[in-house]
Amino acid sequence: MELLIKNGVVYDPKNGIDGEVMDVAIRDKKVVDRVDESKAYVIDASNKLIMPGGVDLHSHIAGPKCNIGRMLRPEDHYKDVEPRTQVKRSGVGYSVPSSFTIGYRYAILGYTTVFEPANPPLKMLHCHHEFRDIPILDKGCFVMFGNNWFVMEYLRDNKLDECAAYVAWTLDATKGYAIKIVDPGCVEAWKWGDVEFLDILWGRPEEIDEPVPRFGVTSREIVRGLCKVNKLLNLPHPIHVHANGLGTPGNYQTTIDTMDCVKDLAEEDRPAIHMTHVQFNGYAGSDWITIRSGAHEIMKYVNANKHVTIDLGQVIFTDTTTMTGDGPFEYKLHLLTKNKWTNADVESEEGAGLVPIHYKKSNFVHATMWTIGLELALLAKDPWRIFMTTDHPNGGPFTHYPRAITWLMSKEARKRTLDKISKRARSRSDLDNMDREYSFYEIAIATRAANARILGLKDKGHLGVGADADVAIYDINPREVDQSRDYKKVRKALSKAAFTIKEGEIVVKDGDIVKSIEGRTYWVKPNLPSDLMNAITSDLTKKFRDYYTVEMENFKIHDRFVTRSTPMPTYYG
């Protein structure tokens, strides 16, 4: 099928296109130079905004903790339902939507690629199960390694090559995409309920140089070790780090320490570390009364150091569900809020926890969190190294992305919210003095182009010839609209794409799903020198028996469980 999108106002930052009126031609799932207009299906996109399909690098959309969230919160679904239609399966929202609904709602926002950021290796099959039922989107899943016994032991014993071989084997066996590190070392301590090590009672952020009890390796060594492993395996995405001390006043310093601990490992213009949902890791002050933004300190470091990328974890004022591999944090949140709590420790590797939360404008801490996310974005000098996320659903459901985007694009929109938030939070924030407004071009970077680049997806996030034909068309003329004053118009247009095109097929029209197709599953297939793999095989086989309650054969995920399996080979060394 051939498609021609005519006369749209195109933003394609990777190719330097900043709001030019031009055509986009599509043939056989790819963007091409031209198509025969008389034969192609033509979309008249005059006065419409065109961007590559959205790419989200951090959104909890699939796997065990998402499903615990769904089961934990029937009250989350009652008020938000999706009836079955000719093309759509039914489902529910809101903060933990059912799988089909996730695919449809992302597509309606103009997103076509979304990565699930945290699954434990042992439960990766669950993630692939859910991927099968998330339509339209291309997907991939990051695998958690930061509290893994194999990793901690290899690093403690200075066996870096063996560690790399283990990580490579696991990514291949579980069909994962990248190395995720969550609260390195601390989840292991939490599995003993080690409140002293975790400083739970005093509410201090963990430091990165304390050795993990019983393993003798520090958070710093885990992060550095896995960063080196990442480099050895030439993985497409850098280590993706949820730093220690999340959600604790004073943690901004831990965040900076974590970024800095891999500085010497960076190569020229290739980021070595991605720090995720930095808002949650960006608190200054020493308790919940003195808490204030650490955004200035963090962004001073980020702006000066090219080896780092970050995403926001922006807070939305709404009722949502927090879910993370950071089990100890969720316990702290349970103590703090008294809300219902689930915990899900996973043998020999990782953990998870969930607690519902309602972010309120009037709450000083919640409002402060809201200001931090925006400050981070507005202080960023290089839009290619900062990505817009809400850490769905932790900061708020992804369906609120248009709202978060207009906060970035309009001082007026920010002011409207600032007028309603806790006065104490407002007076302690710099947000009132920040005049910066993201342009459409910068938004296209922070929601697509930069995300695709940091994920190593060369055919995503742009509209050059050879790119995947994933396109979002929004019913707004970016050349005419006053984005600052008419931010509501922008928000409305971004909320319901006029068209979303996935692999050359029109899946959304006028803000509604018109066709549902299956998305790809990306995973990396590292190629190891056979002597290295052989060197760890016997060790791995023995330890596997000792550490797990499943057989190695049943841990490996068969291709039949992987929807549109799309392996990306990488090479060692």
């Binding site: 089961m71 679904h77 339902v81 399966r89 199960h129 689930t342 057989e551």
Partner: protein
């Protein structure tokens, strides 16, 4: 002769994945690592088997073609106003997914065996959460293992050896490093392997858990005994729970089926949450069928809810007590049913079973059962995990692949295929 290793056992929630079967011809002649229930299944499943589709004619079940059976089932479901699709705890996740789609297509209710086992656990989860872990965590760390209202030696025969007291872990070398407490109303075979057996009065679990929480929090208990247990014993037990390094509370149907039901689970979870102030403590339901957990998972990611999902509005709706199969059958609202790999007639209270017998229904099951004997249509299927591939979730939500060890008899399809055929037939009928 072929030896197939690492088979996931398709019986109970333990889903032991180390079963080894010796296959000669197309027959399993020997199994290793199996418990007695598992061995009984692997060595006997092919006996006493119905290999023909059946349809009720003049009051009696008579052989028919598969096509006619599928056609009749589709007709029953399409003509119904409020049909029920029930079962799937012994199916693979793939068949379960097709089952949910069928229920959605016909605007009916999808429900599973959770309704008569751990439904109250789901309700407890909704109320207060569920701090848990995988079974390997227990193996490596637990020094105190409490089984409450669970006769694991008979319902989960390898649980103790593989995952809990007898297993050898990183930080616990075996039985001597652990203490086992069994709390039950009967002195079951499980009680006999405990270091401490606490017999309690039936239906008073809630009271005892409340008293334990009071003891933990240093509140005065005014009664002299609770649930038949003297207060000083309760305080001793509270101290034992508080002073372990890693404790787990495994609970069974003793809590979910007795007086109090989901309130018992609320209280058990709250007790465990309290205990985390002093030590590490987690809780886990002892799920029965090997993939009842999977059915909850599949239903939850497809609809948002773990069981008892009603599609009659066109979207998923859930309200246990209203949309649960026991209740809709009991109220006589349900007017047709498809039962997959389960035997509700043998396990639902009599009045509910009588109402099921009043409506047309079809059964997909590898075996004849009481329910199949009463059905209007019976379609035999392959044994998932032995004759058909799939995947399943262990009681601790660890997903596992299911193997096809041998071929099913000629013409015998998997339940996934059969439900898929019915769905296809239903869709074409509805379009007409």
């Amino acid at each position: 002769m072929v030896i197939v290793q690492n088979i996931v056992c398709p019986i109970c929630g333990c889903a032991c994945d180390d079963i080894e079967a010796t296959v000669e011809g197309n027959k399993i002649v020997k199994v290793k690592n199996s418990c007695s229930i598992s061995a009984s299944k692997f060595l006997n499943f092919w006996k006493e088997r119905n290999l023909s589709s059946l349809i009720r004619k003049n009051g009696e079940l008579a052989p028919t073609s598969l096509e006619e059976a599928v056609e009749k089932t589709a007709e029953i479901l399409v003509n119904a106003e409020y049909p029920l699709v029930y079962g799937f705890a012994l199916s693979g996740c793939e068949a379960q997914a097709v089952g949910v789609e069928l229920a959605e297509e016909i605007g009916g209710v999808i429900d599973n065996q959770t309704v008569t086992c751990h439904g109250p656990s789901a309700l407890g989860l909704h109320d207060v959460g569920m701090p848990g872990c995988t079974l390997g965590e227990v193996r490596h760390r637990a020094d105190l293992i409490v089984y409450w209202g669970s006769n694991f030696q008979e319902a989960h025969p390898r649980h103790l050896a593989r995952y809990s007291a007898l297993s050898e872990g990183r930080f616990r070398k075996g039985r001597k490093d652990r203490k086992v407490v069994v709390i039950d109303v009967r002195k079951t075979p499980s009680a006999r392997v405990a270091d401490l057996f606490i017999p309690i009065a039936p239906g008073q679990d809630y009271e005892l858990m409340s008293a334990l929480r009071m003891a933990l929090n240093n509140d005065e208990i005014e009664e002299e005994s609770v649930a038949g247990l003297p207060v000083d014993k309760i305080e001793e037990l509270a101290e034992m729970l508080r002073s372990c390094q890693f404790g787990i509370l495994f609970y069974g149907l003793g809590l979910t089926m007795s007086r109090g039901k989901e309130r018992n689970i609320d209280q058990a979870v709250s007790l465990v949450c309290d205990l985390n102030k002093w030590t590490k403590f987690v809780i886990m339901p002892m799920r029965g069928h090997y993939n009842v957990t999977g059915m909850n998972e599949v239903t939850a990611w497809q609809t948002g809810y773990p069981y008892a999902v009603d599609f009659s509005h066109g979207y998923p709706w859930y309200n246990p007590g209203e949309t649960t199969s026991i209740d809709i059958l009991r109220r006589g609202e349900c007017d047709a049913a498809l039962i997959v790999a389960s035997d509700p007639l043998a396990h639902f209270p009599k009045e509910v079973g009588q109402n099921l017998c009043k409506i047309p229904f079809a059964v997909i099951d590898p075996h004849m059962s009481m329910t199949a004997l009463a059905a209007d249509v019976v379609m035999p299927c392959a044994f998932t995990g032995i004759e058909a591939e799939g995947s399943a979730y262990r009681m601790d939500t660890v997903p596992l692949p299911l193997k096809k060890v041998i071929e099913s008899p000629p013409g015998i399809l998997s339940d996934e295929e059969l439900v898929g055929m019915i769905l296809k037939r239903v869709k074409s009928k509805r379009r007409r």
